[in-house]
């Protein structure tokens, strides 16, 4: 599309959505009921397929929708926690029955989700997982432990990878499931993080039950399907927005939304900070009287340049994809690695700006503790969703075509070395 086509398309979307909002949107509506309406009209997830609550919109078209929502103060689809990872995976690999049952309540906020991938014995090496899924008629019995599971403490459902075959090579014996978290066999214990918050958990599964129709894809396809989840997760890093301004508005729907945010979002108050908050650098430097310090200016400029470069790299890749070019680096690893570098550079700059005040935390500290929270949250971005080292492996092998490391984990999963522990 040319830029002229683009702006015509933008006007058309704004006109259609604007008229629909005039008719439907009101701050006095109950939140759940509003979201049902939003989903039914296809405005909750416009990037999704038409058959499943969406409109097949491109990224740029979706942005027009979110911009108009923002301008008009409209509450959108539920977005807390790892629900989008579940949604994207179900859209790509789920049966119609799975999509039918789970997608709508995921968008309305009726259900919340978590991701049950990492285990005490296998994180980077996810395919080394030892949680068992044993077939028992039309159901599976699940035993094992997961860890670092964001949102598990309030999730209704989890996307779960577990081993269904121990004799096959490690990547082939894994299957992918949706597990009901509200059952006696599932126990969730919150874990406190280095920044003091507790958004992740450990999850113990003891004879927990999953029904056959909640398996995603065929038995043994779990690894391949997990790649969809992981590549979507990687490409989402660095896109954290600053805290939601809607929750502070007045009106019935905002009050209900604020409650949802309070319950569901409290553990994630630190999320925007893990990306380093490049948006605050200049204003804090001004407020602290450091904006004329040449050393501070250098570090701020580095951070802003990297952040802008990453933003443009993403939007240009999207534009190339839309124009049908094959010149697109897949997988999101470059963006995820860049997000880590940006976050670290921001924490360097924020520390310089705050000077020795960066030694204070909480309400006593600079910018109501935001700077301390940035410093203590940035390390997460280099670990969660696949570490920086793993992203570098992926980039060097799959993008640059360099040879793989020698392997010591081929052959039947039973026979390969692994961490001591359960299973």
């Amino acid at each position: 599309m040319t830029e002229a086509d683009d702006s015509a398309r933008e006007r058309a979307i704004r006109a259609e959505l604007g008229a629909w909002l005039d008719a439907e949107w009101s701050v006095d509506r109950p939140l759940r009921e509003w979201r049902e309406t939003l989903v039914a009209a296809g405005w909750a997830a416009p990037a999704w397929p038409k058959a499943w609550h969406g409109r097949d919109f491109s990224h740029a078209e979706t942005m027009v929708v979110s911009r108009l929502f923002r301008e008009r103060g409209v509450v959108g689809a539920a977005s807390t926690g790892p629900r989008s990872l579940a949604a994207e995976t179900l859209l790509a690999h789920g049966s119609d029955s799975l999509k039918q049952r789970y997608l709508r309540p995921l968008l309305t906020g009726e259900h919340s989700w978590c991701q049950l991938f990492s285990e005490p014995g296998s994180g980077s090496d996810l395919a080394g997982l030892t949680t068992r899924a044993e077939r028992d008629g039309s159901r599976y019995v699940i035993n094992g432990q997961k860890v670092w599971n964001t949102s598990a403490h309030h999730a209704d459902f989890g996307i779960l990878v577990a081993r269904t075959d121990w004799d096959l090579p490690k990547h082939q014996g894994i299957s992918y499931f949706v597990i009901d978290m509200r059952q006696p066999g599932v126990e969730v214990r919150p874990l406190r993080q280095m920044n003091g918050h507790a958004s992740f958990n450990e999850v113990f599964m003891t004879d927990a039950i999953v029904h056959e129709e909640d398996r995603v894809g065929a038995e043994g396809e779990g690894w391949r399907i997990a790649q969809t989840t992981l590549s979507f997760e990687r490409s989402g890093f660095g896109r954290d927005r600053a805290a939601d301004a809607l929750a502070t508005r007045t009106g019935r729907i905002y009050a209900e939304y604020a409650e949802e945010v309070r319950i569901a979002m409290e553990p994630y108050r630190w999320y925007p900070q893990r990306a380093g908050r490049p948006d605050l650098l200049l204003s804090l430097a001004r407020a602290n009287g450091r904006i004329n310090d040449p050393v501070v200016r250098q570090e701020i400029a580095r951070a802003l340049t990297l952040a802008e470069g990453a933003r443009l790299a993403t939007s240009q890749a999207e534009a190339r994809r839309r124009s049908g070019s094959s010149d697109v680096i897949p997988g999101g690893s470059i963006g995820k690695l860049a997000a880590s570098v940006i976050a670290r550079q921001c924490s360097v700059a924020h520390t310089l700006i705050a000077g020795s005040h960066s030694l204070l935390a909480g309400d006593d500290a600079n910018a109501q503790g935001l700077v301390a929270e940035i410093l203590l949250s940035v390390p997460a971005i280099s670990i969660a969703g696949g570490t920086d080292e793993i992203q570098r492996n992926i980039i060097s092998e799959r993008v640059l075509g360099l040879p793989k490391e020698p392997r010591f984990d081929t052959g039947s999963f039973r026979d390969i070395p692994r961490n001591p522990g359960r299973a």
């Binding site: 830029e3 990224h59 400029a301 990453a310 939007s315 470059i334 570098r392 360099l402 490391e405 020698p406």
Partner: protein, 367 residues
Amino acid sequence: MSETGFAFSAEQNQFRDMVSGFFAARSPMGRVRELIGLGLPLDRDTWQALARELGAQGIHVPERAGGSGFGAVELGIVMEEMGRHLYPGPFLSSAVMTTSALLAAGGDAAEGALVALSSGDRVGALLIDTLDDPALLGTGLSVSDTGRLEGTAPLVPGAANADLWLAIARDQPSGRLGLFQLNDAPACQPLGSLDLTRPLSRVVCAGLSCVRLAHIDTATCERLWDEWNVALAHELVGAAEALLAGTIEYLKVRVQFGRVIGSFQALKHRCADVLMEVELAKALAREAARTIAAGLPARGAAAMAKSQAADAAMHAARAAIQLRGGLGFTWENDTHLWFRRIKSGEMLFGSPAQQREWLVAHLEATA
């Protein structure tokens, strides 16, 4: 839509392939080496073919002034491929510096010079008293009320091949900056240069006759710097990509400890980091070119593009040497030729640190 990213059109991609094919055929590394050995004379056949077959010298010049009527995006494509192939002709000095100064000046006299440069018949050089900071323009060169250029241009790229001369100098006694065209060739003294494909000269002007094409203001000088830096950012990206690709090839064949060294994680990770930095640089360079092509203010975009491209390309160059071991430190291996070209791209028109300072100054001025 405003959030839409930039993507090249099919025609632009085709143009890139043609440019790349041209340099691969007409200016392979063997030829570059040969020209360096001869003291880098102008290969006029290649220079004129570049103008005739691709319209490269006038790619951003309007058709009525003998150009192809495109803009900064297409110029960026040419520069990127030039960096990839290490083309040693005086393109930056003639087609970028001199040509964009003429475009900024406008007018009939400038148009005549543009026609000569775009056709490849003439090679231009621009005498300026600084390659660092546009704020320093006019501190060393001045033109008397009788139209005589006085002073020294201490570092002039491309002067050795030039036969069309411009200068930015201070008009006396008014003290205003102007763009002047020289009537005669000045005496130019070639200088020992780090960059073997883009050597510098010192030009002393003792009362050379010249005519004023236009007065230019500070904003125009800054705009020229932005355009030149964005062009260089593209060259740096192309050079970095060429070095990374060559390094990857080497890592796939060199064996140590019974395995190809490309399977060592320390080396793989270094290449991954370089690729990530180059990808960001590429995105910034393209956006900056689009900004210039649209006639929009480009101070911030140019500063970001240039600093990121220079840093990424220097990392690529250091890795290209280090990952070849002793071979990387030899004269025989071509890597140092790119290292030298990247160093000159990094330092011309403001170092990365200077670009970062300009970026913050710009953001503060427009806040």
